[in-house]
Amino acid sequence: MKNAIVIIIGLLMALHLNAQKYFTRTGMTQFKASEEAFEPVEAVNKSTTAIFNTNTGQVAAQVFIAAFQFDNALMQEHFNENYMDSHQYPKAIFKGILEDFSKNKLTSDSSSFDLDGTLTIRGIEKEIHTKVYLKDENNRLYVTTNFWVKPEDFDIKIPSIVRDKIAQQIQISIAYELIEKK
């Protein structure tokens, strides 16, 4: 009988631990590849799905390429068809881990953690190391970070006619508001 209770409590704890996931369907991922003096080359994606396991510090995110919104229709079309081949590669995927993460470290002020992971765009993987800022407000986790990538890292060919108008280093910024996954 005692054993049974221990097992039940153990199971309940395991279930509780499993439930420690936070997620969003509407995370904001933005990129900026503008060169000064030219038309801005930037877009916002407000449909990123991200899941964060607060027990292990593991993160996974899916960025839907077709959900990047530009101000300019022609630029959006070229981005999808010529540069990102979004029909063939509809998603960019990030998988990584926050080093030494513990949910106890979070407060309503931002704390920083090292993020190590792999970003896959157009089927090509690249290691990413950056700092992530996290805060916990009313059991909502606010995550922000930014890092730089190069088009050639993902074999994205930029025609010489527009080469000067697109930055060599592209800034990617994210801002996700994660809620507990029940």
Binding site: R25, T26, Q62, Q69, A73, Q76, K91
Partner: protein, 129 residues
């Protein structure tokens, strides 16, 4: 005199055409992306039927605007779940929708979400409640 008059009208007409041409080119190059409302839906029907349809060929529906009718199974701040596993994101704040309500909406298919195992739509608008 007559010749000059004739030439003048030719010049005016040419300038007019040139102006229209430049204006159209400008509009084409700098146009904003079309909204969901402005795009004709490539599929119209029941959400459940659409789910069956995409299972066979998801690529065909990638980045296409569709209009589907289904039951709201969950409501969130920026979107709803239709028939449990079609997530529909709205640009505007959601108002006056309730769970278990049957609605028709139009939105853009942005992909299949493998993390949450749902079909994902964005820029949704409500067509009928």
């Amino acid at each position: 005199m007559n010749l000059l008059k004739k030439n003048k009208s030719i010049v005016i007409v040419s300038l007019l055409f040139l102006g229209i041409g430049l204006w159209s080119a400008y509009r084409y190059v700098f146009a904003a992306p079309l909204t969901t409302n402005e795009i004709t839906a490539g599929y119209q029907g029941e959400a459940a039927d659409f789910k069956q349809l995409v299972q066979n060929d998801f690529d065909r529906w990638h980045n296409k605007v569709i209009q589907i009718k289904g039951t709201i199974t969950a409501i969130q701040e920026e979107g709803i779940l239709l028939n449990q596993d079609i997530y529909c994101q709205f640009d505007d704040k959601l108002i006056n929708v309730v769970e278990n309500e049957v609605i028709t909406l139009k939105g853009r298919v942005i992909g299949f979400d493998e993390l949450l195992e749902e079909i994902k739509l964005n820029q949704c608008i409500i067509i009928q409640k």
